[in-house]
Amino acid sequence: MKKLINKPEDVVKESLAGMALAHADLITVDQESQIVVRKGAPVQGKVGVISGGGSGHEPMHGGFVGIGMLDAACPGAIFTSPVPDQMLAATKAVNGGAGVLHIVKNYTGDVLNFEMAAELAEADGIKVAAVVTNDDVAVQDSLYTTGRRGVGVTVLVEKIVGGLAETGAPLDAVVAIAKKVNAQGRSMGMALTSGTVPANGKPNFDIGDDEIEIGIGIHGEPGRRRIKIAPASQITEMLANPIIEDLGLKSGEQVLAFVNGMGGTPLIELYIVFEELSRILKGKNVTIARSLVGSYITSLDMAGASITLVRLDDELTKYWDAPVHTPALRWGR
């Protein structure tokens, strides 16, 4: 394993310290509770919006703490969901009296830990609501299983929800828009290589020089199936078509198109995928009204990409366009 790190066990804390130093105008990092908090939190009368999950997905979630997005983030160990203590500390830190929303990606670990944190927060008299994202069409949805993973849509939920929360909207409205974005969003990802967890020192899975994984998540796990390497045009079809189908996109509809890099794939390739995606959607007469291209929800140094589409209406477009100022996403100010 070759990484720009010191001791594997110090990666998360040192990286958080670096982010805090680089963005001291926006965030503070409480190393004791291991949480990233918006400068000036809690904002009185505003719904506090927090999220969290294992580390290794940078800039998510810490890079989305600031104005118009998250009020706090709870980074766990690499690929390991954080503990209830962190979520409780974050919930208290951002509670401005209007309640706190927990944005939770659908992984057993994240769900259970946020669940315990919510119980503890409510015992402390803080109103807490949780919205679980589950947008990964690579996983069959079912009542009897863990269900779909929360992946790319989480970034878009955090932005849009943060935009509404910034206006002082009440908790139920913030919960409603979070559920709406998740309901209107679908994702699918692929990997060219496996990421390497620092503590393990070797790739999570071996893969041939001519093979790729289709239907991966963001924790270095193998995908649904392994195939021979294919041109970007075909790979984009393999990711986009299940999304379009599952979302039931119809001619004339508008989407927010998000092409995401997994951490080891450069922008030059992501734009090629975006070009192919535009072609596919154009063919279905679906308009890309908004777009995001870059590495925002990653899997350490894994090479690969994911596509997320969210069906847009005026409300979602409005809060996507709303000003945001965080370490990783910024516009309108």
Partner: protein, 209 residues
């Protein structure tokens, strides 16, 4: 078994999980996210620091300490699951200074009950439950046949071993492994394996007790 025996059990668990951290993480690689060994080792490393202070605690307090420590340090799925398990186990032995065979069975029953209450998994979903439920069933049978506490623990451990092995052909429907669908078949579940280690440590501890 008294609070010295429980502490010996827990210390043994810390040792075994540390020795097998890499192995558990390896099991978590093909069907998970390669952290189960690291997670469990982190939790019991935190316990190790507290063991010296636990000699004076009664059994319930010891188990409560384990539960809350795991919840606060492990994270992932296993943190809340094992955390809840130890907390529930503590509840049923409150006030007891020594445990008889029947008490141990009640403890294990509450332990498993905690995991099931938290994780909502049933047998056959390729989780720790597939090691734990057979273990409790075996323990109950042993008790019904008038077995000693050591035998109860031994039979539970053996059943947990078989249960862990039995997860290999299973198709996962809970936890990360479920994302792999068919590809989850043919791999032993890491959580079921850590459950096996925890019960084996109990058996060894009580045998020498």
């Amino acid at each position: 078994m008294n609070n010295e025996d429980t502490l010996r059990w827990l210390t043994r668990v810390a040792d075994v999980l540390h020795e097998n951290a890499q192995y558990l993480t390896q099991l978590d690689s093909p069907i998970g996210d390669a952290d189960h060994g690291t997670n469990m080792d982190r939790g019991f490393a935190a316990m190790r620091v507290k063991f010296p202070t636990m000699t004076t605690m009664d059994i319930a307090t010891q188990l409560k300490t384990v539960g809350s420590t795991l919840v606060s340090t492990v994270g992932g799925s296993s943190g809340p699951l094992y955390g809840t398990a130890f907390l529930r186990a503590a509840a049923v032995v409150t006030g007891k200074t020594t445990l008889e065979a029947a008490d141990l069975v009640a403890l294990l029953d509450a332990f498993v009950g905690g995991v099931v209450a938290r994780g909502k998994a049933q047998m056959g979903e390729k989780t720790m439950v597939d090691a734990l439920i057979p273990a409790v069933t075996a323990a109950k049978e042993a008790l019904a046949q008038g077995a000693t506490l050591a035998d109860v623990a031994a039979r539970a451990a053996t059943a947990a071993e078989e249960g862990a092995k039995a997860t290999i052909p299973m198709l996962a429907t809970k936890g990360r492994a479920s994302y792999l669908g068919e590809r989850s078949i043919g791999h032993q579940d890491p959580g079921a394996t850590s459950s096996m280690f925890i019960l084996q440590a109990l058996a060894e501890g009580t045998r020498t007790a």
